[in-house]
Symmetry: C2
Subunit: 337 residues, 2 copies
């Protein structure tokens, strides 16, 4: 058995940096390289780029993906874009280096409906190279899909499923507060939605995963994006929202089978939410409900899910996997590879 | 691909009967035989024994395990005893017939500490025959272990874990109400505990599974069993409990690492409980909590978990598996094998 699991980080933005810091705590992991084209990061020490107290680490961030992937890591952690077509070449390069991949690309979490050809291509290539890849994170990847399917393990019959995630974004990073439109006028918000800028990615992917896992013949997935409008002023560390302005997003996605709504997913992510929470409800035999009071913190939880997934993806059969297939669990810091 | 998954039911008590009724609803499953030595059942039609509205099914319950197992089912559902040493020969016979096994034997759920030799023997035999076996159910197998480990997927660090299950037994079957000591004097209850009659099995197994999954070096597992004493009269469909009598069991199990409590599990199962609930709490980064208000109904959920586990055990690598390894999910009634 190898002494260490050799890891490369592909993309050192805020999520990638959080993942890197968490990976550093796992004895079984050796971070052998990092890729980022940003000139503010390339050439710098990875520990310094991610703000680690024990920096420098002696691992230099490189803009040359081919060079770093050529080191043939056991697994590449990929955090560069939400859109699968944008990253398919990056993923193929990882696969062809013989590395497993865990990616936060939301469209990779369950890509079979929106991108059937890319899915088939990635699956075939991964099988050819004997590696597995998965797109995961907290949402999509956990709270609105894996947790729904896990709860369904105690169900004799499921008629419909609901997942509601309310996130108070008040203490989240500025890019996230901006990304959800906090502080915009309702008109600006609408324009940003129309331009595709404001959007949480992944609800249709979660709907598709749940539909297939519960055996629902969902033939139509809809999605709406509206602002949560502030009724009172909200002030965060970074910005202020006046009454009447957008405080964040309110997205609703639905899955219909033959005109009947079978899956409902609602995401409210805004500054000033009274309380965060995740709720899953299954109607059937029995009716059953699960709540995570206080919710799961998106950035913290995404880093967790991704890093905790590393042993599972290394153990998985070759090919394109999803969090539906994998036993989601914890990666103890002291674990041996 | 085969048209059907061929299943044998081994043990047709209340839990086995519930499993059989649920299996009947899954299009992919063909129940080819059933084993029970009880003369009141052997020789009768399985559908009639389990009270199915569409009986008879043309499947006769047999007391001859060898004959039924000789039909080489794809999977045997085994529900005969809580004690692993009592059933190891039955499990070996299933394995040697080339069948995968899903068993409700609580001690099989995570048998490595209490029964290391039997565990090794079952694992080796299963690998020799190319089949997988698992012990599972709602508890152990789901609410106090798998759900804990699944929730830990969003954790960066886990310092300790708690699982608390409160079950109102008022509407459960009479054997269960008797098994938990409802209606006994406190002295009778104590005697029945001492005799090993009153006990919910599986808490130490859940502790061991969680300890290994979270990387806790648990070196001591303790367990206490006390009565829940009724303060007011309780009346169920089957029995009455007077104030001062036992209404049910209160079990607490703890896992210690080097003298420090790392895992706490508490089970209260009694008639007249104000509300059933399952709660999981992880202390660490982040602190996180999950609740199932109303709880998971033991008999309904055990049948669910067992039947839903069938596709996963058929897909699992050969050997002795646990619910820790398997993706717990739902088995859609319309699913094809």
């Amino acid at each position: 058995m190898k002494k260490n699991i050799r890891v490369v980080q592909y993309g050192v933005g805020p999520i990638g940096a959080g993942i890197v810091r968490l990976m550093r705590e796992k004895k079984a992991l050796e971070i052998i390289g990092a890729i980022d084209k940003d000139p503010a990061k390339a050439g710098k020490d990875l520990g310094e780029v991610v703000g680690a107290p024990d920096a420098p680490w002696g691992v230099i961030v490189s803009g040359d993906a081919g060079k770093i992937l050529g080191q043939k890591a056991d697994v590449v952690i990929h955090t560069t874009s939400s859109y699968l077509p944008n990253v398919v070449d990056q993923l193929m390069e990882c696969i062809e280096a013989g590395s497993c991949v865990v990616s936060t690309c939301e469209e990779l979490a369950y890509p079979f409906r929106k991108h059937p050809q890319i899915s088939a291509r990635l699956d075939a290539e991964a099988k050819d190279w004997g590696v597995a890849l998965v797109g995961t994170g907290v949402n999509p990847g956990f709270v609105m899909d894996k947790l729904v399917l896990t709860l369904a393990a105690v169900s004799q019959r499921v008629d419909s499923a609901r997942a509601i995630r309310i996130v108070d974004a008040s203490n989240r990073r500025l890019p996230l507060q901006k990304k959800i439109g906090a502080g915009m006028t309702v008109e600006e918000f609408g324009a940003q939605v129309a331009a595709g800028v404001i959007k949480h990615h992944g609800l249709p992917e979660s709907i598709a995963m749940v539909a297939d896992g519960l055996g629902f013949a969902v033939d139509d997935i809809t999605e709406t994006i509206q602002p949560v409008v502030a009724h009172a002023p909200v002030k965060t560390e970074f910005l202020e929202v006046a009454p009447g302005q957008a405080a964040g997003v309110h997205q609703i996605a639905r899955g219909f089978a033959n005109g009947v709504e079978k899956i409902y997913m609602e995401l409210q992510m805004y500054v000033g939410a009274p309380e965060s929470s995740d709720t899953v409800e299954l109607a059937g035999n029995p009716d059953i409900k699960l709540t995570v009071p206080g919710g799961t913190h998106g950035d913290v939880a995404t880093a967790s899910v991704v890093v905790n997934c590393i042993p599972a993806i290394l153990a998985a059969p070759a090919g394109l996997r999803t969090s539906r297939d994998l036993p989601m669990c914890f990666f103890p810091p002291s674990a041996k590879p």
